[in-house]
C-alpha cells in the first residue's frame, strides 16, 4: 500500500475516534503522529489502532499527553574510548545472542549495557518459557523467528552448558473456555472438545511444529490436579523452559571468551551520524567509533533510534507480573499449562502455569499497558488477577507458598511485531526492536537474522577458526552426587561451606561468580549466577554472608555493597555511623 493509502486509513481512524489536533505524516510506510491527546490511555489507544492497520511498518507516536515523563538525557563522554566494527546497544537476551553469534566472525564487537550486569531488563523478568510459536499470529515475524529459534535451543543449551528442558506445554480446554461467547453449554463443550483441538493441530502443521491431541482421560491421568472442568487438551511438546538470565549470562560469557567486549554500567547518550551513515556511539564512558550499530536497547530502542535520527517506531511499555512458588511444589504439575479461552483478550499473550528448570512453579504473567518504562512494581491488583486467571486451572493449588513476585516490562511497538531491519534512513543502524514475547524463544533466530542483515549492509564477516562454542560448566554444588561433592571439596574447601541454605549454594560458587568472565559485583548479579537468595527465605539468611564474601573478594567496603547497581546501596554505613560525628558511608 502506498503512503497515501496509509494516510487515508489513518485519517479515518482518527476521525472515527474523534481525536483532534493530531498531525499525521507517512513516510516509507511509517506513520508519524504529532500533536496532543488528553491522556496516556488515548496515547496508547490511538497508537494501537493505527498500529493494527495492515502494511504499516511502524508507528512513531510523538503525541504529548498530560503527566508525560520526559527523561533527561545524560551527559556523555565525547572523548574517544575505542573503536569497533559493530556496537551492540543492550545486554538482554537479544543483544547477548547477537554478540555471541557475531563472535563467530573476525569482527571487533563491543556491547554496551546501562545496568551493572546483563539480563537486567525484560530478560530477567519473563516467565522463562521457550515458546513453540503456536500462540503467535501466523505470518508475523515473531511467529517465524519463534518457531525457528525454539528449535535451536537444544544444541545451544548444550554448547553453553545451561539447563534446558523441552518440557512441553498443555493447552487446556475447559467448560469455561468459550464462556465469553454466551452460547449453550452443550455447544460450547462440543466446540471445545471436537473442533478447537483440531484447529490447533492444523495450525501447528502449517507453521511446522508438532502438536498432539490429549483427551480428557490422558490429561487427568498425567496432571492429576487439573480442574475437573477440563474437557480436552492439545500438547505442544517442543515447548521448552530455560532460566533466561542464566542463559543470557552464559551467552555473554561465551561471547567474552570469543573476543566480544562488554561495557557494563555504560549508558548510550548519543549516536552520531556522518554522510547518512553511523559514525560513533557516545556513552557515559567514552565514545566508540563504529560503522554499525545494533539497536537492541529494548524499552529504550525508540530513544536510541531517535538519537541516530532513525526512529521508525515508538515503544509502549506493557507490564507483566509473575508469581513464583516454593520448590517443594515442583512436582505438582509435569508440564507447563495454559487455559485456552476463545475469543482471546486483545494482545493477550500466552501466560500460564509452568515449572522452571529449578523446580519453582510460576503463575503468570499478566499484561497491562504501563506508562513508565522502569515501573516494575507489582500491585495488589496484579496479584489478585494472577490468582483469578489461573486458579480455574488448578483449583486446589496451595497458594500460600508464594516465595516472590516480580514484573517485567515488555518493549512493544504499536505494530505488535518484532522490528528487525536495517534503517532506511541511517546506513549501518540496525533496528532490533519491539522484542516482546516470544523474544526469548526467538533470540537465537534473531541473532542469525541480524548477521544476515549485517552482511547485506556490507559488513565483511569471515569465520573465525578459533571460535569456541563451548562454555565451561559452572560448578553447581546441589546438582552433584555425593562422590563428586566430596572430590570438589577436597580440591577447594570453599565448596564445603553452604552459604544459602534454601538453594544449597556454597561459598565456592559465590566466589566463582565474583571472579567469572562477566564478574558479578552486586548481590543480585551473584544471585542470578548462583541462586543464592532465590529460595524461600529470599536472602534473609545468606545476605550477610554474600555481602561479606563480595567485600572480601573485591575490596569494596561492606557498607558500599549494592543490590543491583548504582543507587542500590544495601546499607547506609557501618554500625554507629549515625551516632554523633562518626559518619562514614554515604
Amino acid at each position: 500500500m502506498s503512503d497515501g493509502g496509509i494516510l487515508r486509513k489513518v485519517d479515518k481512524v482518527i476521525r472515527k475516534k474523534r481525536f483532534e489536533n493530531i498531525d499525521v505524516k507517512v513516510e516509507d510506510s511509517v506513520v508519524y503522529l504529532n500533536g496532543k491527546v488528553s491522556s496516556w490511555d488515548d496515547f496508547v489507544e490511538i497508537g494501537s489502532l493505527i498500529g493494527a492497520i495492515k502494511n504499516i511498518r511502524g508507528v512513531v507516536n510523538r503525541l504529548e499527553y498530560p503527566g508525560e515523563i520526559r527523561r533527561e538525557r545524560k551527559k556523555g563522554n565525547r572523548e574517544k574510548s575505542g573503536e569497533a566494527d559493530v556496537v551492540i546497544i543492550g545486554g538482554g537476551v537479544t543483544g547477548c545472542s547477537i554478540a555471541r553469534e557475531l563472535s563467530k566472525y573476525k569482527v571487533k564487537v563491543i556491547l554496551v549495557e546501562k545496568e551493572d550486569d546483563v539480563a537486567c531488563g525484560a530478560t530477567k523478568a519473563n516467565n522463562a518459557m521457550v515458546h513453540s510459536g503456536i500462540g503467535e499470529k501466523v505470518g508475523t515475524l515473531k511467529q517465524k523467528l519463534c518457531v525457528k529459534g525454539h528449535f535451536m535451543y537444544g544444541e545451544l543449551a548444550k554448547e553453553l552448558n545451561v539447563p534446558f528442558k523441552r518440557c512441553g506445554m498443555l493447552i487446556i480446554l475447559t467448560k469455561d473456555s468459550l464462556s465469553k461467547l454466551k452460547i449453550p453449554q452443550f455447544l460450547a463443550n462440543f466446540i471445545a472438545k471436537r473442533i478447537i483441538p483440531f484447529i490447533v493441530v492444523r495450525r501447528g502443521k502449517k507453521i511446522g511444529i508438532p502438536i498432539k491431541l490429549v483427551d480428557r482421560e490422558e490429561l487427568m491421568e498425567k496432571e492429576r490436579y487439573v480442574t475437573e472442568r477440563a474437557l480436552a487438551a492439545v500438547s505442544s511438546p517442543s515447548y521448552g523452559v530455560i532460566c533466561p538470565y542464566f542463559f543470557t549470562i552464559a551467552l555473554a560469557e561465551n561471547a567474552t571468551d570469543n573476543g566480544v567486549e562488554f561495557m557494563l554500567d555504560t549508558e548510550v547518550v548519543d549516536v552520531t551520524v556522518e554522510n547518512d551513515g553511523v559514525k560513533s556511539v557516545v556513552t557515559t564512558k567514552g565514545t566508540i567509533d563504529t560503522r554499525f550499530v545494533i539497536n537492541a536497547a529494548g524499552l529504550y530502542a525508540d530513544e536510541v533510534a531517535e538519537m541516530a535520527g532513525a526512529r521508525e517506531y515508538t515503544i509502549h511499555p506493557k507490564k507483566g507480573a509473575t508469581l513464583l512458588f516454593d520448590k517443594e511444589l515442583g512436582n505438582y504439575i509435569n508440564r507447563s499449562m495454559s487455559l485456552l479461552r476463545f475469543p482471546r483478550a486483545e494482545h493477550y499473550k500466552g501466560g500460564g502455569i509452568m515449572v522452571t528448570v529449578d523446580s519453582n512453579i510460576q503463575w503468570g504473567p499478566t499484561i497491562a499497558e504501563c506508562p513508565e518504562k522502569e515501573d516494575t512494581s507489582v500491585t495488589a491488583e496484579d496479584i489478585e488477577k494472577i490468582f483469578e486467571s489461573y486458579t480455574p486451572l488448578l483449583p486446589d493449588f496451595p497458594k500460600k507458598s508464594v516465595i516472590t513476585y516480580f514484573a517485567g516490562i515488555r518493549a512493544s511497538t504499536f505494530t505488535e511485531d518484532f522490528f528487525i531491519e536495517a534503517s532506511k534512513k541511517v546506513k549501518g543502524f540496525i533496528h532490533v526492536a519491539g522484542i516482546q514475547s516470544p523474544g526469548l524463544a526467538a533470540a537465537p533466530a534473531v541473532a542469525d537474522m541480524v548477521v544476515d542483515i549485517l552482511k547485506n549492509e556490507g559488513l565483511t564477516l569471515k569465520q573465525r577458526e578459533s571460535f569456541n562454542p563451548y562454555r565451561d560448566k559452572t560448578t553447581i554444588f546441589r546438582d552433584l552426587d555425593i562422590k563428586e561433592k566430596k572430590r570438589l571439596i577436597e580440591k577447594n574447601p570453599r565448596y564445603g561451606k553452604i552459604m544459602c541454605r534454601c538453594e544449597q549454594v556454597t561459598e565456592g560458587e559465590i566466589v566463582d561468580a565474583i571472579h567469572s568472565k562477566l564478574p558479578a559485583l552486586s548481590v543480585d548479579a551473584i544471585k542470578r549466577r548462583t541462586r543464592a537468595g532465590m529460595g524461600r527465605c529470599q536472602g534473609g539468611f545468606c545476605l550477610p554472608h554474600v555481602v561479606e564474601i563480595l567485600s572480601r573478594e573485591t575490596g569494596i567496603p561492606i557498607e558500599k555493597i549494592q543490590k543491583n547497581g548504582k543507587g542500590s546501596n544495601l546499607f547506609v554505613g557501618k554500625a554507629k555511623c549515625l551516632l554523633g560525628d562518626k559518619h562514614d558511608g554515604n
Partner: protein, 119 residues
C-alpha cells in the same frame, strides 16, 4: 500534671493514669498493688537496663554486646549509648568483664555480655 502508661507487671497490661495535684498523687486504672508500685516508680525514677554493642578490636566479631549491670535512669539511656560508641575494647573478653565503669556518673557499670575470642 497527668500521665498515662501501660503496666508491664503482667499480661493484662492495665492502662494506668497518674494525676499529680500539688503534693497529692492519684493513681487509677491499675488492678493490683504491683501496678501501683510500678506506676509510682515510673513517675519518680524510671530506670532501664541498657543493652547495646561496643566496637571490639581483634575479635571474632567486630562488635561486643554489652549491658548495664544495674538499671540506669531512663533519660540517660541514649547518652550512654553515644558515650559507649566512642570507646572500643580489645579481644579477648570474657562474659561479665568490665567495659566502662560508672558510666556518665550513674554509678552503673557496663559489662560484656558474652565471651569474645581473638580473631
Amino acid at each position: 500534671m497527668s500521665e498515662s502508661m501501660t503496666c508491664i507487671c503482667c499480661p493484662l497490661g492495665c492502662r494506668i493514669h497518674i494525676e499529680k495535684k500539688g503534693e497529692k498523687t492519684q493513681i487509677t486504672g491499675h488492678r493490683c498493688k504491683k501496678g501501683e508500685e510500678y506506676a509510682l516508680q515510673e513517675i519518680r525514677d524510671p530506670r532501664r537496663i541498657l543493652t547495646t554493642t561496643v566496637p571490639i578490636d581483634n575479635g571474632m566479631l567486630c562488635l561486643l554486646p554489652v549491658k548495664s549491670n544495674k538499671e540506669i535512669p531512663k533519660n540517660l539511656v541514649k547518652a550512654c549509648v553515644i558515650e559507649l560508641s566512642k570507646i572500643s575494647v580489645n579481644a579477648p573478653i570474657k562474659c561479665g568483664d568490665l567495659v566502662c565503669k560508672n558510666i556518665l556518673g550513674t554509678e552503673v557499670d557496663i559489662i560484656a555480655s558474652r565471651d569474645m575470642e581473638e580473631r
